[in-house]
Symmetry: C2
Subunit: 153 residues, 2 copies
């Protein structure tokens, strides 16, 4: 049993939530948990979404306007979440949009080193359906990440 | 994006922490997080440990006194954690000791249906080394459970 002195409160200072463009039921619950923690403990909240290259068809990649539209759409979704977070009472909110081939890699190799969260919040059924690996991204982040991960159901 | 009305706070009412007999570094952090949540949101805290049948040698199974000693030891550890939780300021604490062949199954089939947690807290390096499946139990619970799971690092 650990020393008594180690039982001081533990909470998180930098909370990252990964959101799905589609509105999966668990995303809303995960977002609510992230909002609650960030507000009640004064944590900074990073709200991240990933534009996967798999989501971009060859047709679109040949049409920069179409691609920019897709990017702009994702930015507007993340900004909408950020606005809701401020409304909820979270002081520090950072909207994050990244792009890459593999959503796990983008989160772990780009977003996490940049934002440096101490907690990643993810809905259990956020799947990024287009994604090569089937199954929930939260579970893969829980396995691969070196920070704490909560999978919300 | 979900309806604005869905963004009410989300926290947990029944928090289960699974502890390892050995004092892994992540157990102390996981325990601190569970204490903090349970105290700050008035949740009931279940503190569970599992006596795995694999831990019981044939020699011991033929010696009821030895087995009872092992049980009593685990009970005393869990009770010690429970006392620390009360000291920390958690009002409702339930010490739980279970036995079975497989720690995952015991947690998911005995402890969870009985305690009915809405959050399971687990240290990332709680391995139950004796256990058939290598790797952290928290990750397996995150995958198999139908409640939210946080893996603390």
């Amino acid at each position: 049993m650990a020393d008594e002195s180690s039982y001081r409160p533990l909470f998180f200072y930098r909370i990252l939530i990964t959101i799905d463009e589609d509105d999966r039921p668990s995303t809303a619950r995960a977002f609510r948990f992230a909002l609650t923690m960030a507000r009640d403990y004064g944590a900074e909240l990073g709200i991240a979404s990933v534009l996967e290259n798999n989501d971009i068809s060859i047709y679109e990649s040949l049409m920069p306007a179409k691609l920019n539209e897709k990017r702009a759409h994702l930015h507007s979704i993340v900004k909408e979440y950020a606005a809701k977070a401020k409304e909820f009472g979270v002081q520090d909110v950072r909207p994050i949009v990244s792009e890459g081939g593999d959503v796990d890699d983008v989160v772990l190799q780009q977003i996490v080193p940049d934002f440096e969260p101490d907690l990643i919040v993810c809905g259990a059924d956020v799947e990024f359906a287009s994604h090569g690996h089937p199954g929930a991204i939260g579970l893969r982040l829980a396995r691969k990440s070196d920070v704490s991960v909560i999978v919300i159901r």
